[in-house]
């Protein structure tokens, strides 16, 4: 990193001195872990899907590099431009998500992907950060400062939210739906939602969860398997837990793990188990700590923030990011029913890395130190 003078008036100079460098470094550390684990998990996966191992790894290296650049690039933007980017991104992602229902690639019974040359894109991944920013904007200042305007904005936010819900449940993508719902709810909660409403919201989500259990057979089977360990096929979870057990405190050593050969999703949903087996408890705690640090530090820093839009947008982005990490790690540890969700930057996958980079770039941009009344 070149040393930048505090008085450097360039865009990069101002960025360097105003951006949240702790968060930035943490994300860089995560990308570093991502590189190491893709090296660990990928050879087995590449062989399994008959791809050249080098190309497989190269792809992820390129994706992570692009993601890093995307994050820095986005974090250079002003809050207003972030808003514009989010609006455009949200609209595009909505259209593309709707398109998946028509032209989607069906993988394992769900239409979530659009085939692009080089990668399959999951547009709903990009919906998550963009909607967090858009909803924050609609909830706070979209229609102006008057009370009526705020109500209008709130209604608009709910309408878009309802559209997203409808799209995601017809894909179906219950995981993404849950995350977006939780993020939106967290934003309303932080905004100061009446506690009675909050209670109703929680009740509604529980009701929806029960509904999903009743309607979707794959949800039911996963929950049943979680609640009754003796029943059904626990192969994935057992193998993952065995991997953690094999790893112990310090791990078996890089490349010595077996779980990557046994689990088809070792490079994505169960990458945390690969980390546990090869690098052990300490490194896993370190990864967990980095995630926790980013989320908690971000949320706590927002307490000092005075801009309501920034508070809501950033808390939404952080909640989404933290929830995704939690669901992935907790699934592979059998703390919650298995839910296929990637571990940001650590799991293999282009869509995932790019969308997380977009979200974190927005977060970094919004949380940059600004002089009071900075109009930008």
């Amino acid at each position: 990193m070149p040393v930048l003078s505090r008085s450097d008036p360039s865009v990069l100079g101002r960025w360097w001195w105003t951006v949240d460098r702790w968060t930035l470094f943490s994300v860089v550390a995560l990308i570093g872990f991502g590189y190491i684990l893709v090296l660990a998990a990928s050879p087995a996966v590449a062989e399994r899907i008959h791809q050249s191992r080098d190309i497989f790894i190269l792809k992820q290296v390129v994706f992570l590099a692009i993601s890093g650049a995307l994050m820095v690039g986005v974090s250079l933007l002003s809050p207003r431009n972030i808003r514009r980017l989010a609006l455009a991104g949200c609209a595009l992602a909505l259209v593309l998500t709707a398109l998946t229902l028509v032209h989607g690639v069906e993988i394992k019974g769900a239409r979530r992907w659009i085939a692009l040359p080089g990668l399959s894109l999951q547009p709903s991944e990009f919906l998550k950060p963009c909607f967090a920013v858009v909803s924050a904007w609609l909830l706070t200042e979209a229609g102006g400062k008057s009370g009526l305007a705020r109500v209008r904005g709130t209604v608009a936010a709910f309408v878009i939210f309802a559209m997203i819900l409808a799209l995601l449940q017809s894909q179906p993508d219950i995981g993404m739906l849950t995350v977006i719902t939780t993020v939106f709810f967290a934003q309303l909660f932080v905004q100061g939602m009446n506690l009675a409403f909050a209670g109703m919201g929680v009740a509604g989500m529980i009701g929806a969860a029960i509904g999903a259990y009743a309607i979707f057979p794959h949800v039911r089977s996963r929950v049943t398997r979680f609640l009754h360990p003796g029943q059904g096929d626990h192969y994935q979870v057992d193998t993952a837990l065995q991997a953690f057990a094999n790893g112990g405190l310090l791990g078996r050593g890089p490349g010595e793990g077996r779980v990557k050969d046994l689990l088809p999703d070792a490079h994505a949903d169960f990458v945390f188990a690969v980390a546990g087996e090869e690098f052990g408890l300490l490194v896993c705690l370190l990864i967990l700590g980095v995630f926790g640090f980013i989320v908690l530090r971000g949320l706590l820093r927002l307490i000092q923030e005075t801009d309501e839009f920034v508070i809501l947008a950033a808390s939404g982005l952080l909640t989404g990011f933290g929830l995704q990490a939690f669901v992935n790690m907790a699934s592979s540890l059998h703390l919650i029913p298995t839910k296929g969700m990637t571990l940001p930057f650590i799991s293999y996958g282009g869509s995932s890395a790019l969308s997380v980079a977009l979200g974190l770039g927005m977060l970094l941009a919004l949380t940059r130190r600004r002089t009071h009344g900075d109009p930008s």
Binding site: Y235, Q242, A245, D261, L262, P264, L288, M329, A330
Partner: protein, 631 residues
Amino acid sequence: MPRMETVQVTAPDLARRAALERSGQRLLLVAGGFALLFGAVAAKLTAATILFPLAPSKAETAPLIPADPGLATPDSSPTIADLHQPRATITDRNGQILAISLPMAALYANPREMIDPVDAARRIKAVLPRLDEALAIARLQSGKQFVYLEREITPSEELAINALGIPGIYFEPSEKRRYPLGRVAAQTLGGVDVDSHGVAGVEREFDKRLATDPRPLRLSIDVRVQAVMRDELEKSKEEFKAIGACGIVMDVNTGEVLAMVSLPDYDANQFGETPPDDRFNRAITGMYEPGSTFKLQTAAMALDFGTAHIWDEFDAAHNIRIGRFTITDYKGKHRMLYLPEVLAYSSNLGAAHIALGVGEQKQRLWLGAMGMFKPIPIELPEAGRPLYPPVSNWKEAATMTIGFGHGIAISPLHVVRATAAVANGGYVIQPTILARDPGDPIPERRIMTPATSDVIRKLMRLVVTDGYGKKADVEGYFVGGKTGTAEKVGAHGYRKHANVSAFMSVFPMNAPRYAVYFMLDDPQGNKETGGYSTAGQVSAPGAGRVIARIAPMLGLFPDTEHEAQIQAQLDIPLEPARGSGEPTGTGSPLLAAAMAETAAAPAAPPRHPLQALRHEAALIVSTRQADAATR
């Protein structure tokens, strides 16, 4: 006067500050929630890695090198025994291995863990060319959790497949049953199925024992004797173009079967591919009319029950016509014959008259006590059920024909057992396929007086010295025996020119040790036998050769020094004088037992005392130590 400063705050600003404050509290709550969630992950992570790690799966901890079944002992390491205990080895009486389990591995898969079934099958096929690839792919795509791909792979194949590193592929220890001696005692040993469960012979009878107790199972078979018997049977079978042959060597004092051969036979390792006809064990499953060998029984029962004496004469001059049958003699003497002559010249007419004298009830009592109405009680599941007339049809005609061994069908081992009983001093013994340890009690019961047995031994010797069994004699071994030629029963009654020719011998007659049964199924006479296919011509020579070869192996040496002296003890005149020889016909143990049974059960519904004892099970079983010297 202090200056008062007032700060004016507008109402919307106040509301905004209040809202911000509330947001701050809410953010704290959200942060707290995340702290809880991540804390839970950290706790579970610690538990899963170091506090309560999941035990490794059994497949991972299984030893890669299978245990050596030959070295397995009951006190071997329990972990290995828990995983897999090889089936016990079967040996002959001298410890020669007859059946052994080689360590193999079974290759199986969990298709649910399989990532690419087609690729997996292709790669395994490269290592294991005998794999049916299409079948393997079908199994791997079945969606089950357990499919076998190949039941028997060698340890080196296991290593090679393991090295492929295909997820979802596992091995379990298995074994392959091998019979290193191939054809030796194939029918007796039987075989096992793919799961190593016995399906025939000793393997089936002792299945549980072989599966649970790793100590070798020692059979009574002596492979040397077995080989000699098979060799001689094979030669005779070729010589006389017989369709089959059967030979048995049994210790007359202990009931141990030293050899049991049934031809045609097969390589025991090819059990599964062998036609049922070859797997047929003639010695215990085959039911044949015993023919003239049965005359020994008729003579013994008549002497022991006292219905005939050694000096009695029987009419062999006139054919007996009864119903549509005519009983005749083969190369008959056409005169009155003394009892020894009836045996020496194998007179059907004489035997019929002797049997008539005994009567059907005592005949049935005797034959029942000899176990002729039940499958032979040897430890083999193939023991067949004898065929005999029902009591309602067992009248004069049946009594007479059964007297010379027709109208009843029993297994060769039945004949051996009954002959051993008349030769060993009068004990009917339970035959066994297991080696008896010295000192083991021998299940047996006295069936006749020693005096009767003595006379029969002399008569058996007489058949060889002066009768039709001359060709079985071996110098110095004092062979005794009886020929038996029975016409085979075909679809339409007796077949005139199809014989079962057997020679039933015991040696040495002065102190009997071994019974040797030698039978050819449907032999054809040749120039040397003058076209005859009778037992004296085709079977007696084979029996003699077997005795000459096995006796030295069994530690018996020809006693030529005292030959004249010993032969003198065994001599019995063909035409004994009235009242000569040892007195017989008093104190029959069978009759005594029948009387005791009637006396002991006065309240029982009236039934004939002899009928009550038709079956040997009801009779007293005495035990005594195996002490051949005393007999």
